[in-house]
Symmetry: C2
Subunit: 402 residues, 2 copies
């Protein structure tokens, strides 16, 4: 007798067979007596196919028309899934972004949600219908179609769950939940029953791509109970909430991010303002900088190194070269054979020695640490990409055993 | 400096190359200083593909969800065409049915237009933008998506032209205009410069599938000037209007309809109410009956024969057999190797002898006439399908010469 929001991604609705499987999950939830709202993404490769079609006609179409085009993908998904539920005799109605009053700002292709109307959804729930909502899309104040950008359907689901005070927001994916480490890399990794929003945020930003940060942040802000679970296996997933039962271990998971590069500036003048100039230029170029290390160099110079996403390396290098005179470095180097390994855990803050345990595991495994960064619930180290698998297993073994 | 509505069908926007050609026509119209509204259908086979996808999931989906699904096709077309115009530096905006306030009744899959809002379209025209409108679709009073059924995009174009008092509504097709007969069947057929709404209506219903009756009826009611022309060849088409310049000949065209069948009921009682019972049953089964012939049979019985579309034959035969006792016929037969040949002309009404000319031509060509039906601007005869090509050429020769 709960109000449940379920979200299924593009791979979960890629073809007729998969849509029927999703419809089966929805039917079971409905038959158990729940009110059910379902948010769907576009089928499998639909969005990519539409982008290809667009680029064949115009390599640089306006974002407004691109959103008009792409929003059809989710509309197709909800109509097809509604038909599958109709065949199972489940009362159902599909609704687009504009039909549920999903209002956004006008940043086409990466719009932010401003408000969600509830009248239509509530009226349909009162009529005992399953409500299928097109994810990823909304309308701005001009009634023009907008899309929410990456992870948009997750955000749609959480926004609706928040607005309607849903008891639970289930995000169905192709994994059964959140693991202590990537099971493909660490065979002994196990699934977590619960995890806090903060831990989930750190894990997501560290490369454990289960949930998008934007939706987790929104869930935390509005206290939406999330559950990450599989659309293929019918078993409990991982709950994401404010406070979780303390587990024996103090950390929740280990994440690896190989999509980074380290940039080093050698021979900078040891005077105030040097770091400011570098990172002001990076910010201007909209480049996110992650770990920063400053060290003393030779002959009263200093060195600064930092990491950026690999996709930002070219822009970062160009920005630095363009501003070489203002910054004043002797040497610039880049290394993209590095990898960031992180442990995350809300319990860490009250448990001294967690970082030391990680360093010990890496030392025992003969892995060299090149940079270190810590936050209240996270410890990250930069290591050579070649060491990453050994390092991950060693750290997992240290904290979780076999 | 006119307001022009242009409509392009699905084959005209089937791929990137064709969309660019259509965009070229639109650009030329805009560059000539006109305000331009363009109505587009779904690309080529898009609608059929979507129907296949639906039927794979549910052989009998609700019409509401089918409309939700199919309306995406036109949305894709307008977005892609907008991108083509953007590339040509033509200011443009695409709008869906709900965005232009295209209000319909709730007959999903065959909705009737109730009203068209003009604010958004006018505002965009005032900003000197080409307005691309998704044809075939609207929304009902619940804000649910509806589609207009066959010929829906033509109807969208005419409705907008009527509401905005457009100077001209151009319907682009794959033929250059309306011909005196099908040029594939009658090589000497020639294109008409002008034709009246009534003639167009008769020709369309007789199988000359250029414009849909529904849009022509609406155009006549609101006095919308139509032009039928080709999206492949840049030359004047055929104008459809209330009064046309009298041409030397009294008829406008000859049409053939092979998609019919003749049903004959033999040995009916010669008493009142027999015909009533038959055609009441047909009406109940939603079967359109065309030509009806009643003749005296043997032994104080009578025979009734009539024509229906071939797609309705099975339903008609079943209805008659189900009601055999109430109707009381001795014998029932069906013949689908027949064909209806018709001449149409608004001038006919004031010109006696037109029908006789047609019969003479058929007699000279040794074509046997099996049934005859006439209206104020039309004469139709039922003949054997095998005679249809000879008959068509003979009648064309009689009225239009070589």
């Amino acid at each position: 007798m709960a109000l449940i929001v379920q979200k299924f991604g593009g791979s979960s609705v890629a073809d007729a067979e998969k849509i029927n499987r999703v419809a089966g999950i929805i039917k079971d939830t409905y038959d158990a007596g729940n009110s059910v709202i379902v948010v769907l993404s576009a089928q499998g490769d639909t969005t990519d196919d539409l982008i290809d079609k667009a680029h064949e006609i115009n390599p640089a179409p306006s974002k407004r028309e691109m959103d008009m085009l792409l929003s059809t993908g989710e509309q197709i998904s909800i109509a097809l899934c509604a038909m599958a539920l109709e065949r199972m005799n489940v009362p159902v109605v599909s609704l687009t972004g504009w039909q549920i009053g999903m209002r956004t700002d006008s940043s086409y292709s990466s719009a932010r949600i401003k408000s969600v109307a509830t009248e239509r959804i509530r009226a349909e729930l009162d009529r005992k219908r399953v409500v299928l909502v097109a994810g990823f899309q909304g309308v701005n104040k001009f009634d023009d179609v907008t899309t929410l950008g990456r992870g948009g359907s997750d955000t749609t689901a959480v926004a609706i769950a928040a607005k309607l005070h849903a008891d639970l927001c289930q995000i169905y994916t192709d994994v059964t939940g959140v693991f202590t480490a990537d099971p493909r890399l660490v065979p002994t990794a196990h699934q977590l029953a619960e995890i806090t929003y903060d831990e989930m945020l750190e894990l997501a930003s560290l490369g454990a791509q289960v949930l998008h940060n934007r939706s987790v942040e929104m869930a935390r802000r509005y206290g939406v109970n999330l559950e990450v679970l599989s659309s293929y296996e019918r078993k409990p997933g991982t709950k994401v909430k404010e406070v979780v039962k303390m587990e024996e271990t103090k950390i929740s998971g280990i994440a690896k991010d190989s999509n980074i590069a380290r940039i080093a500036l050698v021979g900078l003048k040891d005077e105030p303002g040097v770091a400011f100039k570098i990172f002001r230029d990076m910010a201007k170029a909209k480049i996110n900088v992650d770990i920063i290390l400053q060290s003393i160099g030779r002959d009263s110079t200093k060195d600064i190194s930092f990491t950026v996403a690999q996709s930002d390396v070219d822009a970062a290098m160009k920005t630095l070269m363009d501003n070489r005179d203002a910054i004043g470095f002797q040497n610039l180097s880049m290394d993209d054979t590095v990898c960031k390994l992180s442990i995350v855990g809300a319990g860490m803050i009250n448990s001294p020695g967690i970082a030391a345990m990680m360093f010990e595991a890496l030392y025992d495994a003969k892995v060299n640490i090149r940079m270190i960064s810590t936050s209240e619930i996270k410890v990250s180290v930069l290591i050579d990409e070649a060491d990453s698998d050994i390092a991950m297993k060693a750290v997992h073994q240290k904290f979780f055993g076999e």
